[in-house]
Symmetry: D2
């Protein structure tokens, strides 16, 4: 199976770069599944139902979220009607939406997508290690589902690398989001899980993690409130991770970053 995961989409710049190109990339890369983190898709703050629909139409099969999941309050009501939008699984019991979604792929194959949030330097949700262990205990990789992708939305590299190490061999892909900067550590872990600490954002990198520089710097340097940061509007770099898995085992065979457009060094997966 061939999967593409795209990191946090930041406002219009990020959305349009994806909407413009994804159909073409799906074909060129023979993709079976596209997952994207949409927590900043609506002007940097949350995900609106309309934007979710547009991304879905453009070829994003599953949208994951994070600490900005509910910045758009309408998502609290909408998410239960949109099972392909997945919020962190470790919100308390009773939170709207689900933390997992199973996608039916061609030829009877099924892929499980999980979204979970880290706790270090973040609002403390339930234990992500326990919650994901419980989810995985209900599935057999390569048997009940043919691929498992986990978007671990977290700040600390220790928590993300620890998450990869802990679930190595039990998921096809563990990929981080939230820091808005792609890491150069994509690899297949010893037991077969594709891993990258952060997918990076789909947004304008001539910015401070996607937001316009003056307002972001005001906050960092002046410490008094200034204008609310708005997404930078320059050309986005679409950043993601492509993985090819073995349907029989569900483990990764190949992994490569995708980086296209904007200000970062480009990389096109060559498999």
């Amino acid at each position: 199976m061939r999967l593409l995961f795209l990191g946090d989409i930041i406002g219009r710049s990020g959305r349009e770069a994806i909407i413009r190109n994804l159909a073409d990339w799906r074909e060129k890369l023979s993709l079976d599944l596209v997952v994207a983190n949409g927590e900043n898709a609506s002007h940097g703050y949350g995900l609106s139902p309309d934007i979710a629909k547009n991304l879905h139409s453009a070829g994003v099969d599953v949208i994951t979220l994070g600490n900005h999941a509910w910045d758009r309050r309408d998502m609290l009501g909408y998410i239960n009607q949109a099972p392909h939008i997945v919020r962190p699984a470790n919100y308390p019991v009773g939170t709207p939406g689900q933390g997992t979604h199973i996608v039916e792929i061609s030829r009877g194959r099924r892929a499980l997508v999980i979204n979970v949030m880290g706790r270090i330097f973040m609002d403390p949700l339930d234990d992500p290690f326990r919650v994901v262990s419980e989810i995985l205990s209900k599935h057999r990789l390569g048997v009940t589902v043919h691929a498992i992708l986990i978007d671990v939305h977290a700040e600390a590299t220790s928590e993300k690398m620890g998450f990869g190490a802990y679930f190595d061999g039990r998921a096809s892909v563990v990929v981080g989001t939230h820091t808005h900067v792609p890491t150069a550590d994509h690899r297949i872990l010893p037991a077969g899980t594709a891993y990258q600490t952060d997918a990076g954002m789909c947004g304008d990198y001539d910015s401070v993690i996607g937001m316009g520089k003056p307002a972001a710097l005001h906050k960092l340097v002046r410490k008094t409130p200034g204008d609310r940061p708005q997404p930078a509007e320059g050309e986005a770099t679409v950043c993601g991770l492509m993985v090819e898995t073995d349907d029989a085992t569900g483990l990764a065979r190949k992994v490569a970053p995708l980086r296209i457009g904007g200000h970062l060094a480009p990389n096109w997966p060559d498999f």
Copy 2:
């Protein structure tokens, strides 16, 4: 001028990969200056005088530090005798050592190295924006010094990208350390400063940020104290950033990551 910056050196694995190869790399890459972050060089915790000497002999001109600067208490006494060891400049007045060092390069050129620590999710030191502004106000890039490299040791990507944006055009290189994962966002910022959010560690990536997996996972998952994490002992990936600057302006002309050995995708600067 051609500079190589190497990220946090983690214990024996990281040290030996550098000591074994650096003379060769200095020649092949025609390097004028090598700077490395040594805060984890002594078994993961701090920097001992002996290890500092070994790294210096191997061709590391300047060693920067971070929040682990003083894990080896003898560094508090030694640092004043070793001006090429630079601790974060924003420690309180009266802290042993200096936050800057000027290296004399061939043909009368001089390079200024600055180490500074971020404050978001870290122990609050003095304002890094103010402290570095004050340091830079005493120098003219391309005139009094021909290159300025800043190692910003910080957790949050927002603070590091903000730091790059704020000092863009006033330094040759702004490069991050501390997260132990290399980022894939190396580039030259609009006003001419080479930038990468994190250089990554020089250590074994089959680990949790350089430390052995069982002890690190115990801490993350079990929350009770376990064995003290020790550096992983597999082959290190040496991770760094190479920059070529213009001596007349002090700004960056070329930038590329260096990644060699171990478990990450290799990259050799091709200039």
Copy 3:
């Protein structure tokens, strides 16, 4: 039922003040149950088996813990043999010890003691609201147990006041620990639960939260490592909260702080 809760015992000064006086106080105050937080009883860091035995012999029926629970590693092995030592209930499943203990009081009465840790500004354990709700769902206050005391070991006043409000009417006492400073907000909440945001420490207040001033100030002001802080050795103020409950309802009838000795204004419960 008449209960006395004593806040974090800090080293020798705090222990001795309790051991010297508790038998007398038990009698004068007609106490049915004494609970004390012992996370700093062993020289400020953790609780040793021997010190636990001494406190128990002196009349402390139940000892609660907190983030320092395991500073003394031998507690990891000992706690399972000592059911009257209670560690935070929201450690992950599989942690040694228990988060609750039921004490048999005279005339067939039973008191349930719960220890739980907050998460704001602390290492993220499981959700304290959920964990305590689950514990309480197995008991009926005034029927299966005649009193329920919860020691909520937490940093943020918002989390502690929120905890009191959330469990008001479902426990006899919600009392905070961890900040080492007694609060002056003891009261009976609208639905009948006695509450105080922090019981304060049993230790020498001529200190920085119980530790000697020079080492503590070095850490705050100098930011370089200095001597390991040691408990201050002056006379302790024993700080706690006394509550009288109604055995039929399990709710609080009277509440008053106890503060004796040392540098704080004294208060002796007058009921």
Copy 4:
């Protein structure tokens, strides 16, 4: 000199209790100076110019602030016209307003009021120990000013007790704010400074640190956004600290908490 410091005023309930009573208390207690923390006076979020004027008219000589200083943006413009409104002194250079104010008292006496913010678990401002040391170096207690009151707006009890210990003998009063809960540790420190870790709020304690319980609990328990917390509207407890100083030395002679109204045990200073 006789000073009264009142803790964080929370919305209408807190304001009205002060406005209704302060003239009477000034007389009964023979107060020379009244200082109050106003960072939550405007509906819980910041301080508006109009409310500042009302408090001033009611007898509050100086208003201090904290992390909510700028919730009302108009304060950024107004504060420079209102020198008796003091914001934390350790904001970066260039921040509107001042961190100190000197009040002329009867018979040629002068009192210096300082506001400063802690950094532990808070947005990192400049070093409060250094900033206040610099301010104090320009004054001689008992000579150039007859009293010095420092409102240290901070979260951690360690930082506040450390602050008291560090400036003991150099100020008349060090009193904490920000946690909205009064502490019971008022005392005169060994070198003569009156101290209390937190003055507590002037607001309705049947709440979560002054805000209505349902919205505050939603945030703590549910983790999804709910209604914006609003100040609780029940009767306020006015909480503060009264100090009598010696004009010749500037040091404290007597100290007592003031707590009146609402749900807390009352205390009226008896000197």
